[in-house]
Symmetry: C2
Subunit: 313 residues, 2 copies
């Protein structure tokens, strides 16, 4: 049930398109993993719970479950709606308790945060952000979002960061595409998400050749966003994941544009000399989110254990 | 020498245009305060040191000094250049030790951070950010910059935030002004700082009537910047200070535009219902910076005391 004294836990990456569930102690010890489409809350959460019950029957009890959810979500520990998806436009999911049913059905402590915060956590514990206090994980896929660590802590603030929705310069003459975001039109997500690429070019990114002008424009908007995040957060590293970033030709384009846009203003060797190690792909590939959920499960177990031990004294 | 057991300390707001020095225990107990122009490092730091020596002769010894400096600065505790102004374009100040001469001359511990981080600290301890963990202090004056707290900690990261240098949407047809920033042209600072206003309208902001179209445009760019900071940092409150914000007609304009730009995406009552308490002027008026320096001086005294007491054991 344990592995080097690390408890066996469950992790759920609860995405708006698909759920990924895993049971294990870390990336080198995943006992089972499954993924399925996000349909109704009852059906989807039921599938997740059924998966863990089956796995517990094989591998023994799990100590906790970590859940990284699409959002917006309620992360306020004292809120009656902690663990809920709140105002999502996704049909059927608005104001849905996600953490509660999982905890009740499996009888274990549950940790809950955004999918992107947990992807950042996964990268911190086992990936490209190991040893860092201040970094960003940004995913560019069906949507655009990110997790932020500052001073070694995951940032929530008023709600949680929504990195995909910053405004960006938009040269309407050079690029008349109005953007894909139903709230803001041409914000970062509106200009760079996968559906925006498909919409603008009439073909999905994966069907465009690597030398198509789409990639230079995509890199342009992403570099503007990184200039913004660098000036706002001063991260020690930026990790770029998600489906769109599978197009690895984007990395050198983005790095060169970020240096050009910052124009020597941020005088750090990390940016001026070592940008190849500053803007990087995830160390865990596409598994940052579910691994972060495993890591949060372990943290939840430790927190629950410490809290419990206080009552014994 | 003490006041309610709070030690008497010095604070220096070391701005690029002027220095403000004060001695006291807090905003209600300032024994003396002075301000003078920032000239050469030797002359300016000499004036600051002379002020504290005079005050010590009257009020007794000070326990520490806090310094909030214009930047960029070196804040890395293990760097040989900690306490320096680094790559500033300000003539004579590049690579200048600021903390060292003050500490040596006065024989006390010195705390050092950016002027804007300390303005944020002042607001946290005595001003409009009391009790908050996540907030921003943004100053719009000769330049634009900001201090950021997240999870109760002042953010440094790779260097420190440079909030004034994020890129913003710029409708060149409606506003052909190219921007004032020597590095980025039409970044936030380039479009909204005091000199940009004077440059664009041919008159300084304080000479423009409150119903001049300049203010609506100024509020437009500032609201775009706040949308960006809200999506990136999720602050619980945003404090707007600096000379330009003396034009208090800007506040309702900015609040209304921020709500319109976010367009209901960030579903928090703080933004949807209580924006008058969300985007606010500084609680300490124009003294946030020097009060933050006093607060950092007190923290430095406590840190030095605790460190010293370890050696006694």
């Amino acid at each position: 049930m344990e592995h080097n004294n690390i408890p066996l836990v469950g992790g759920i990456e609860a995405g708006g398109t698909k759920f990924v569930c895993a049971i294990g102690t870390g990336p080198d010890d995943i006992r089972a993993e499954t993924r399925f489409s996000t349909t109704t809350p009852a059906e989807t959460l039921g599938q997740a719970i059924a998966f863990f019950r089956e796995q517990v029957a094989v591998h023994g009890p799990i100590a906790a479950v970590g859940i990284g959810s699409f959002g917006p979500v309620d992360l306020r520990p004292l809120s009656p709606h902690w663990g809920y998806v709140t105002t999502t436009p996704k049909p059927g999911w608005a104001h849905t308790d996600v953490a509660g049913p999982v905890s009740k059905a499996l009888g274990v402590p549950v940790g809950f945060d955004t999918d992107v915060n947990l992807a950042a956590l996964g990268e911190l514990i086992w990936g490209a952000a190991q040893g860092l206090d201040d970094f960003i994980y940004l995913t560019i896929g069906t949507g655009v979002g990110g997790g932020v660590f500052a001073r070694g802590e995951m940032i929530h603030g008023l709600i949680h960061p929504e990195l995909g929705h910053i405004p960006l310069p938009h040269d309407w003459e050079a690029d008349p595409y109005p953007g894909h975001c139903p709230y803001h039109g041409d914000c970062l997500e509106g200009m760079t998400c996968g559906p925006a690429m498909a919409d603008r070019w009439g073909a999905s990114g994966s069907d465009l050749p690597p030398d198509h002008p789409a990639w230079d424009l995509e890199a342009h908007y992403l570099a503007l966003a990184l200039q913004s995040f660098i000036c706002t957060l001063s991260p020690e590293r930026i990790i770029l994941g998600g489906g769109v970033m599978q197009q690895t030709q984007l990395f050198p384009l983005i790095r060169e544009k970020v240096q050009r846009m910052l124009n020597g203003y941020v005088q750090s060797p990390a940016i001026l000399e070592h940008i190849d190690e500053y803007i990087v792909p995830p160390g865990l590939g596409g598994r940052s989110g579910v691994m972060g959920a495993i890591a949060l499960g372990q943290a939840s177990y430790r927190i629950a254990h410490n809290v419990a031990s206080k009552f014994r004294a």
